[in-house]
Symmetry: C2
Subunit: 221 residues, 2 copies
């Protein structure tokens, strides 16, 4: 599976060793270990076994378990950033943008379910990965808050704190990773549609809705 460079046995000058392993293959192996046994199952030994390379080869390219986690983290966050940017670029309507973001996030919550909540939660990450996570998550949240704000301006979403609202929507979808079970046969598309219905995105025409605030059932209580 891994693209191991030739000539490994020969002597190389001292210094930073050449990355002789394909990072994507490493990310796949680490993701598979995560799926099998969680964070603790991610070891150099098991990753090397999965890749079909010697431990020495893997150690030379990826010295610590923290580095293994870092490789998967990098791919996961990189992919989410790119897909989210594409969702925003795909439409000029903030409602459409947010729906596309919910759909891709639901898809990621299902396909990356063994590690996505670990990366999004930040808790328990090794310090070096944690610092990258903090910087990434601030940037990622900013994209969400921007689109949520635009939805509030158009009246697609009720007005409220856009940061809290963005975190609530994002959290609703991230938590899918925890309850999703393939045997229940609920697709990520169905989950995304249910979420979109729940926040009533695109249910009523933008301006119309705001006039009915006075009819709140809370007024009755």
């Amino acid at each position: 599976m891994a693209e191991v460079a030739n000539g490994e046995q020969s002597k190389r000058p001292r210094g930073r060793p050449r990355l002789a392993i394909d990072r994507d293959a490493v990310a796949d192996a680490v993701a598979a270990l995560f799926a099998e046994g969680g964070y603790e199952a991610v070891t150099i030994v098991d990753t090397a076994d999965k890749l079909g390379v010697s431990r020495a080869t893997l150690y030379r390219a990826v010295p610590t378990e923290e580095d293994l986690l870092g490789i998967l983290f990098e791919r996961c966050t990189g992919e989410l950033t790119e897909r989210t940017k594409a969702a925003i670029a795909g439409s000029s309507d903030p409602g459409e943008q947010l729906m596309a973001m919910i759909r891709l996030q639901a898809d990621a919550a299902v396909s990356m379910r063994s590690y996505l909540p670990v990366f999004f939660g930040g808790a328990g990450l090794p310090p070096e990965v944690y610092n990258r996570w903090r910087s990434w998550s601030r940037h990622f949240e900013k994209m969400w808050v921007g689109v949520v704000s635009a939805n509030m301006e158009r009246g697609y979403l009720d007005e409220g704190d856009p940061t809290v609202t963005a975190r609530l929507i994002l959290g609703m979808i991230i938590w899918v990773s925890r309850w999703y079970r393939p045997r229940e046969q609920i697709t990520s598309e169905e989950i995304a549609d249910t979420a979109i219905h729940l926040v009533r995105l695109g249910v009523a025409p933008p301006r119309d809705r705001r006039t009915r605030g006075g009819n709140a059932t809370t007024d009755q209580g």
Copy 2:
């Protein structure tokens, strides 16, 4: 802090030892350790230190770390079940019930933030606690699904799969545990209100809303 029974040094007949430690004090100590260093910080040694009792005394009452976790789990889930039942009993209107449930869940997400996602996610729990969690979470989810279904029947929530919808709302609030930071000075009440606004509970009169389905912005895309 702990209520340690007197006469511990004296000989007792063989058999199951008397629980000489107050379970609530143990739960408090375990919760504090969780808050300080997460799951891995919960050890018999540190719990004994926190309780101000000898390790031997604690070992006699709570033989394993799994048991420590079990005591906190029991209190956390017991409290949530009781408070949710009370929220449902507190009103005959399903909208009011759901709002009360969102409020208490947001409060729990903040006050129990160091361990609530661990208990709700089930992942990484010791087998014995995991089995109790499965049974409890099925029962807890059932209460939520019932109230969500009633909200859909009244038109307070758009129709959709009530189980998926209940999990999305619950997940949105559980995930608060992950992003809540006291220094941001966002209260659990504000979070709950934002969530209630987001799903537009009590925004429009029950029956009125359903007639506007044809105006969906998705039709424009």
